[in-house]
């Protein structure tokens, strides 16, 4: 494995571009946190790395487009490199995105697989060729089938799109919600829970970026 370039440094992880067995790859490392006791720190970093890798593998198996895991050890995950443009940069460029319909289906599939992403912001959605959509950064993802957790995914998406592109947001969100609700399990309860969360007024803008 060869590490070449730092792509992102989040609160918990660093993401590099590099090579693995001669092919381009993305390497995600959870570095040591000196503010935590070494035993606690090691335990957390290894446990979280394993959970993230296991969720990525499960999501992939269930047909959710996400980076393929090439290798995992200790605090490191090596993944396939996903090429394309993030939804964030499409929105910032003022274009109206074309893959949002597909994104709704992809998130529905993720939820049907018993997984919630927990950081569904436009930075973590990549559009490839055509309408191909890929979800990235599963650092906060969890196994969950709870209506509340699913609704938080949709709410985080709604809030972060609105924050990034207020004028394009209504159309993006309504396209996303309608294609999600056509395919997602318990879509009606999830959508009505999103309503509740909005009313609670709890501020949950895009969660921390963890690379």
């Amino acid at each position: 494995m060869e590490v070449m370039e730092l792509l992102a440094r989040g609160a918990e992880a660093e993401v590099y571009r590099g090579e693995y067995l001669g092919k381009p790859a993305v390497i995600k490392i959870r570095p040591e946190k000196r503010y935590r006791h070494p035993s606690l720190d090691r335990l957390l970093r290894i446990r979280r790395t394993r959970i993230e890798a296991s969720i990525l593998i499960k999501a992939k198996r269930m047909g959710v487009p996400c980076p393929a895991v090439l290798d995992v050890w200790g605090d490191t995950i090596v993944m396939e490199e996903v090429r394309g443009t993030t939804l964030a940069s499409v929105l910032e460029g003022g274009e109206s995105p074309v893959g949002v319909d597909e994104l709704g289906r992809v998130v529905a599939k993720l939820h049907a697989a018993g997984i919630v992403h927990n950081d569904l912001t436009p930075l973590n959605v990549i559009f490839g060729e055509g309408e191909r959509v890929c979800l990235i950064d599963f650092g906060l993802a969890r196994y969950s089938r709870s209506v509340e957790d699913r609704a938080v995914d949709l709410h985080v998406f709604e809030q972060s799109v609105t924050g990034l592109a207020p004028s394009a947001a209504p159309e993006v969100i309504s396209t996303f919600f309608s294609s999600y609700s056509r395919e997602a399990p318990d879509a009606a309860s999830v959508l009505s829970r999103v309503e509740d969360i909005r009313r609670r007024g709890r501020y949950k803008r895009g969660q921390a970026k963890r690379g």
Partner: protein, 339 residues
């Protein structure tokens, strides 16, 4: 403008006097204590009603003022325990009516944050508010203080007190727990996104003690885990918001161990750490007096007839802006011109 503030949300009754330049002229308090740990709201209310009149006199003496020279009376309206809150509100209403002075009810977390900004010079920080009943990561944005992350069950301070009671440390147990040295014991660490939970940690710590693990090891590890969780969510919020400044406020904020951990994290992230001095971290009257001036400048007085206490008043339920000193001055001048 001179403001007298009364604090009574929980165990501490406090009276402070602050002027509109942010000069703290007096800050006196009396807290209910208990050797067994814990207290009942009724006991706190009784304690506060006994001490507040004397605290008011003492504060005026310390400031070298007569009550006639005070321009407004502020009180903590909530969130907090109903009975103690009512005692402070009652005293504030009586003083305001007797002196014909404006009454201003203030939000308790806002008062903590604003005294921290005043004392440390923090401008637009990410705020870590860590106290008995509250543990929240906050920012001001769009005329409101927003909650980015918080405890999903009990406040970090209350978690410390629960374990402290089990260990017979008396109340408050937090500072004593902080200074216990021990060895590492594995305890549950619960961070979900930018939220934390402490109640499972207390339960497991108590179970370990019952199992015969050395209490000092459990106590040391408990503090280690609880503070690490708080530092981790703070780091996440820093990364998410891109702020460059962290301000610690609230009673647990006086802890040297918390400060040390936050310092390491902030240094690694290149963020500035500002910690409110201990005497202004714990519940006190000066913070209420200062927030009273800021509230009066922005929103005017609280009518006595509408000044009921609000025990569940969340910090994100009210409008609030972090004012610069010149903005405050302009607002106050505008008010006095309107008469």
């Amino acid at each position: 403008m001179i403001s007298l503030g009364i604090e009574s949300t929980a165990h501490t009754a406090g009276v402070g006097i602050v002027d509109s330049d942010g000069r703290i002229m007096a800050n006196v308090s009396s807290a209910i204590r208990s050797d067994l740990g814990g207290f009942r709201p009724g006991e706190a209310a009784e304690h506060h009603s006994r001490v507040i009149p004397d605290l008011v006199r003492e504060a005026l003496r310390e400031a070298g003022l007569t009550f006639g020279e005070v321009d407004l009376v502020a009180f903590s309206r909530g969130p907090g325990m109903g009975q103690p809150l009512q005692v402070g509100a009652l005293a504030a209403r009586a003083l305001a009516l007797r002196g014909g002075k404006p009454l201003v009810g203030v939000n308790h977390p806002i008062a903590h944050i604003e005294i921290g900004r005043l004392a440390t010079g923090a401008d637009d920080p990410l705020v870590v508010y860590v106290a008995g009943g509250n543990t929240q990561i906050l920012v001001e944005e769009g005329g409101r203080v927003r909650v980015l992350g918080e405890t999903l069950d009990i406040g970090l301070g209350n978690a410390q007190e629960k374990l402290g009671r089990k260990l017979g440390l008396g109340f408050p147990a937090g500072p004593k727990l902080d200074s216990i040295e021990g060895e590492w014991v594995d305890l549950p660490y619960t961070v979900k996104g930018m939220d934390m939970a402490f109640s499972g940690l207390v339960t497991e710590a108590e179970r370990r003690i019952r199992q015969g693990v050395r209490p000092e090891d459990v106590a040391w590890s408990f503090v280690e885990v609880a503070f690490s969780m708080l530092v981790e969510v703070t780091e996440r919020a820093l990364a998410a918001t891109g702020r460059g400044e962290v301000l610690i406020v609230g009673g647990v904020g006086a802890s040297p161990r918390l400060r040390e951990k936050m310092e390491i994290m902030c240094e690694e992230r290149g963020a500035e750490l500002r910690v409110t001095p201990p005497e202004l971290c714990r519940d006190n009257g000066a913070m209420v007096a200062w927030a009273g001036i800021l509230a009066l400048a922005q929103f005017g007085e609280t009518e006595v007839g509408e000044s009921r206490v609000l025990p569940d008043w969340r910090v994100d339920e009210l409008e609030w802006r972090f004012l610069r000193k010149d903005e405050l001055r302009a607002l106050l001048e505008g008010r006095s011109r309107r008469g």
